[in-house]
């Protein structure tokens, strides 16, 4: 654990409010980024940030320094966000159809050859971003949380499973389903998944597992 965090946690657990304030100021941005990735909504992310630190203040005495304070506060944030996600109505595939009606163009995502931005490229980029946001809304709370923790936070399968109350197999499966849904949603921009392996044998392939 960060030396400053370790010191401030000890002080805060002893009742030093200024020490807790330092923890809040040091970790707020990270918690906000995580909350935003989990919810896709700035207002929701702001609410989660507040709720996270209020909950952390009440439960700080239970923090035993087996993990870093950052890991712990992020876990509190994930639990808050997860509860919120479960209460939300979920988007279904029709949302993607609506996005398509806005004129999503096909074609691949290729690196800009000369590095310069052009208006059409910027518009295309905005379209892709909108599609990604919509695709994230298609995920179940479990899938979204598992995906965000694995993809953006780099948490291990065991940590994610512990956070979500799942064993490794179910955690892997949740991440896989999330990625699978993202691939299908972004296929108009990225190209369809080849998916040969899901259909079984394919002639001409001389290597296999």
């Amino acid at each position: 654990m960060d030396v400053n965090d370790a010191h401030d946690v000890t002080q805060a657990q002893a009742g030093d409010e200024l020490a807790f304030r330092r923890l809040v100021e040091r970790h707020s941005r990270g918690v906000f980024q995580l909350a935003f990735r989990l919810t896709g909504s700035e207002p929701d992310a702001e609410d989660i940030v507040q709720e996270t630190f209020l909950k952390a203040f009440r439960e700080l005495r239970r923090f035993e320094a087996r993990s870093s304070f950052r890991t712990w506060i992020h876990r509190v944030a994930v639990n808050c966000a997860y509860d919120l996600l479960r209460q939300r109505p979920r988007y279904k595939a029709e949302s993607l159809d609506a996005a398509d009606k806005d004129g999503a163009q096909g074609g691949g995502i290729e690196p800009e050859a000369d590095g310069a931005s052009r208006p059409d490229r910027l518009a295309f980029g905005a379209e892709v971003q909108g599609r990604v946001r919509t695709a994230l809304e298609l995920l179940t709370p479990t899938e979204r949380t598992a995906f965000v923790l694995r993809h953006f936070e780099g948490r291990s399968l065991e940590e994610i499973g512990e956070t979500l109350g799942l064993h490794t197999g179910a955690t892997k499966h949740s991440i896989f389903r999330a990625v699978q849904k993202m691939r299908r949603a972004l296929a108009p921009f990225v190209g369809p998944a080849v998916g040969i392996g899901n259909e079984g044998l394919e002639p001409g392939c001389s290597a296999g597992l």
Partner: protein, 271 residues
């Protein structure tokens, strides 16, 4: 020869492949198979697009703003110690708690009478069969197969539990769209039938019984309309909760994941 599955590619991308086919064998396949390599690149392009979505930046003063918002609330007294217990005294939860108690007793009784599957400690007494005994080897191979089956069933029960929990937690508007849940239930039904029949064949009656109960629920979900009225959805949710199937699946999932195998030396084998 089989190509890599999408799941293998995802696991490989995140460095989690060691637990399945193994990173080395996946890499070997990717070097030799242009199609799978192309699929991996497609996957990575997708995830790059996800990475490109910006996160609103909060400036250096953000932490102070958060503190200013929460500080007044920190002065409130904590909730009294008995506050969380209030949530338990809700009639529906008391009925559920009663059902949970019955199931815990049933699980305990099942655990007492289902054959213990832990390998017996080495028997130091004379009369033990030599390790080279082919009958012993066959029994041990059978135990390995059963262990693999238990792991697969444990994973299936956990995936089913997740699917059921997400279904019952679906917030019900005037209409409820369960098309995703229905599709998942259909996939789980196919697996469930395979595991149930295998459990019956191997004499695991307790597991077969749970899978039978689970299958009934999954079939109901799979055969439900994709779009349900709130009233119909609430009826289905109530039926699922009253059966206690989620708890039952969780208990038995934990049970099979403990991975007990039959006693390795049967009296007949010792001779």
């Amino acid at each position: 020869m089989n190509h890599l599955t999408e799941e293998q590619l995802v696991l490989y991308h995140y460095g989690d492949a060691a637990e399945s086919a193994g990173t080395a064998s996946i890499e070997e396949h990717l070097h030799a198979c242009a199609a799978c390599e192309a699929d991996l690149m497609n996957l990575r392009r997708t995830l790059s697009a996800v990475d490109a979505v910006p996160v609103p930046d909060r400036g250096d003063g953000y932490g102070s703003e958060v503190w200013a918002r929460i500080q007044p609330s920190l002065d409130r007294r904590s909730d009294p110690w008995w506050h969380p217990l209030q949530a338990l005294f809700v009639p529906r939860r008391l009925v559920f708690a009663g059902g949970v108690f019955v199931l815990m007793v049933a699980a305990f009784v099942a655990g007492r009478f289902v054959p213990a599957l832990q390998p017996a400690p080495p028997d130091g007494q004379a009369g033990g069969a030599p390790a080279a005994n082919p009958q012993l080897a066959a029994v041990e191979q059978q135990q390995v197969r059963e262990r693999i089956l238990l792991i697969a069933v444990g994973d299936h029960l956990e995936r089913s539990q997740v699917a059921l929990v997400e279904l019952v937690n679906n917030p019900a508007g005037s209409h409820v769209d369960i098309s995703d849940e229905r599709q998942r239930a259909r996939e789980l039904v196919s697996e469930n039938r395979l595991y149930r029949q295998t459990a019956l064949t191997t004499g695991e009656q307790a597991i077969a019984s749970v899978l039978d109960d689970l299958e009934r629920v999954l079939v109901e979900i799979a055969n439900s309309p994709a779009r349900m009225s709130k009233a119909d959805f609430e009826k289905m949710r109530t039926r699922i909760e009253q059966q206690g199937i989620i708890f039952k699946v969780r208990v038995f999932g934990e049970y099979v994941r403990e991975g007990r195998v039959p006693s390795p030396v049967d009296a007949r084998v010792r001779g």
